[in-house]
Point group: C2
Chain length 352, copies 2
DNA sequence: CTGAAAGCGCTTACAG
DNA sequence: CTGAAAGCGCTTACAG
């Protein structure tokens, strides 16, 4: 004697369970949400509880998130918005947040290059980490509105001093970036720069490179500056090209870790030892760079990824507080692709 | 004279719009869903339409996806379940699906290593591509139930002959893998193998390697077989180690493209030319491998990623059809890390 | 100890 | 041309 809800193709609801267990839907809801165990005002006999649980089990019941979300306003979902999934930076963020969400019993949803603002507007998540740059001022405003309506939003951006309604993670990059450039200019006169024209941060870093050269009295040479993007392969090719040319560089300032890694292979391919014959500095301080051989010297934050995850969890549990702008200071992480500090300058190889 | 819904922190609903525009909520819904333009039975005067649209605009209205989803049963979301976001294989899938979803006006959600079954059970998406192996038989059964209840599911797996309720994409790997092994054994006697013990497919490929050696009468040498995982870095180190040892290999059969790429760098670092002095075959036919220098010879499907995307869209628009098992045949993609076919065998380098 | 009922924000068949 | 009303599947304050 099966009810209509037993037909294949029909999802069981709490009503189906209630019928089968011979109780009201309220009782089913209480049992399923363990309200009878947590709230002293709700009392259910163990026997009723068992019947409900058994019925749910037999029917293969799973709650309808849409209904639940509409009622409670919560989704138990976190949204991470990424520009690409291919950068080591994104991957580190995914790793940190996956761990944090799992521990908190939440589901992490990645949104790559899609209509994330629409998704969030439609109540897709309780919190969001925006690791892509909003394309327009209007998007920023809509983001703020969402934040003011109660969505926990963390924006990773240096573009704004503050943004009411959202948490802003600002990275104080410049001092450390300048320090890295100065390190190279103190040891080299032919320093290549790899950058990504499509990336605003990379453009700024190119600016720091140029100013650094100026500080050191080194003339700017356009040949040494290559648009590699954030690509191992293009960097590899450009580096081969540079090394084959006359008056080749002896060091590289790469505006992202991936292009630094690509350059590293090119050095090996040409039999150039790093760091004794060639020095490389990357930017981002990514796990990927740390795994290179030798590990990449890189400018970046210390523990950005975990800090983001921690902030999100705090917001979700405690709500916003006064401190909504978070400054993360960068530093130079000296590793294997630069020689130890205090090393005397190498004799600059001149073909002339 | 602002209504209560104008307060900050309160989302406007169609009711708010209706009040402001002086119409019923039904009219608002019709206008917002363009029913008045598409359904001849619904007629709204242009003037009313304008009033509704203006009110929605002023209030910053966005539909509540939970309510809409509960009513319609649709989410307009697609879920891609991935084991990791770091493999080139995953990335290629993300690229293809992002494009397809965008074109179809759907939102692609990535779920990495989370409770994807729970997410799908709770009606999180209209369709799902499962590119991770379900951990238990029970999960497979739950997946089938979801499929039978109307969720469009595509499972990428060779573990099952068929799975009622879901679309199965099976990859016919073996003939092509054997062909690649035979190519190497016809030219080399010292052939390394890089594999990933945690990966079932990789384990099978190791089996094909061993059988291939046997076919060619080449003794199995455990020294040449390394557990590199799917990691550039570990493969790089293992390859350096192998090349430094006595009786070094002259070719590599890598069970995934990433480890093949890592080995390639190691060859360069050691000054070994590829493919003239060392040949490498990877598996996966990934974009990442194609971007290597030289492009990696790799065994894999031709256009797997786009085919998956296309199948999904077909299911979403037309529903399931009789053909629910899809076989994709692999082949050997000869590129730059192997010498042209027909080349005479190289003289095997022996240190002895 | 349990149930009837309201209501979350939508969509849509139906009535005017 | 437009509106009143039912109902999607839940949760929860309230009444017994």
């Amino acid at each position: 004697m099966v009810g209509s809800a037993d037909r294949a193709g029909v999802r069981p609801t709490i009503r189906t369970i209630a019928e089968r267990a011979g109780v009201s839907i309220a009782t089913v809801s209480y049992v399923l949400n363990r309200r009878d165990l947590t709230d002293t005002k709700v009392k259910i006999t163990p026997e009723t509880r068992r019947r409900v649980l058994d019925a749910a089990e037999e029917l293969g019941y799973t709650p309808n998130q849409n209904a639940r979300g509409m009622r409670t306003g919560r989704t138990n979902q976190i949204c991470l918005v990424l520009e690409t999934v291919e950068s080591p930076w994104s991957q580190a963020l995914v790793t940190s947040l996956t761990r944090a969400c799992k521990a908190a019993g939440m589901t992490l949803l990645l949104l790559v290059d899609g209509d994330w603002l629409g998704f969030l507007s439609r109540q897709g998540a309780d919190g969001a980490i925006i690791a892509t740059v909003p394309e327009s001022q209007e998007m920023v405003e809509r983001l703020q509105v969402l934040g003011e309506r109660g969505l926990s939003i963390i924006l990773l951006s240096d573009e704004y001093d503050e943004l009411p309604g959202v948490d802003l993670i600002r990275q104080v990059q410049q001092p450390a970036v300048d320090e890295a450039v100065d390190l190279l200019t103190s040891r080299h006169r032919r320093i290549a720069c790899f950058w990504a024209p499509e990336n605003a941060e990379s453009r700024q870093r190119l600016g720091r490179y140029r100013e650094g050269l100026q500080r050191a009295g080194i003339p700017y040479d356009a040949v040494l500056v290559r648009e590699t993007g954030a690509s191992r392969e293009q960097a590899y090719r450009d580096m081969l090209d540079l090394l084959a040319g006359r008056d080749a560089p002896t060091a590289l300032f790469a505006t992202n870790d991936l292009s630094a890694i690509g350059a590293l292979w090119a050095c090996y391919r040409r039999g150039l030892d790093v760091p004794s014959a060639f020095e490389i500095v990357g930017i981002g301080n990514t796990p990927e760079g740390r795994r290179a051989d030798p590990p990449l010297t890189s400018v970046g934050a210390d523990a950005l990824y975990d800090e983001v995850a921690e902030l999100l969890m705090r917001r979700l549990t405690m709500g916003p507080d006064a401190q909504r702008v978070h400054r993360i200071h960068w530093s130079v992480h000296h590793r294997g692709t630069t020689r130890p500090l205090g090393d005397e300058p190498v004799n600059h190889r001149r073909r002339k």
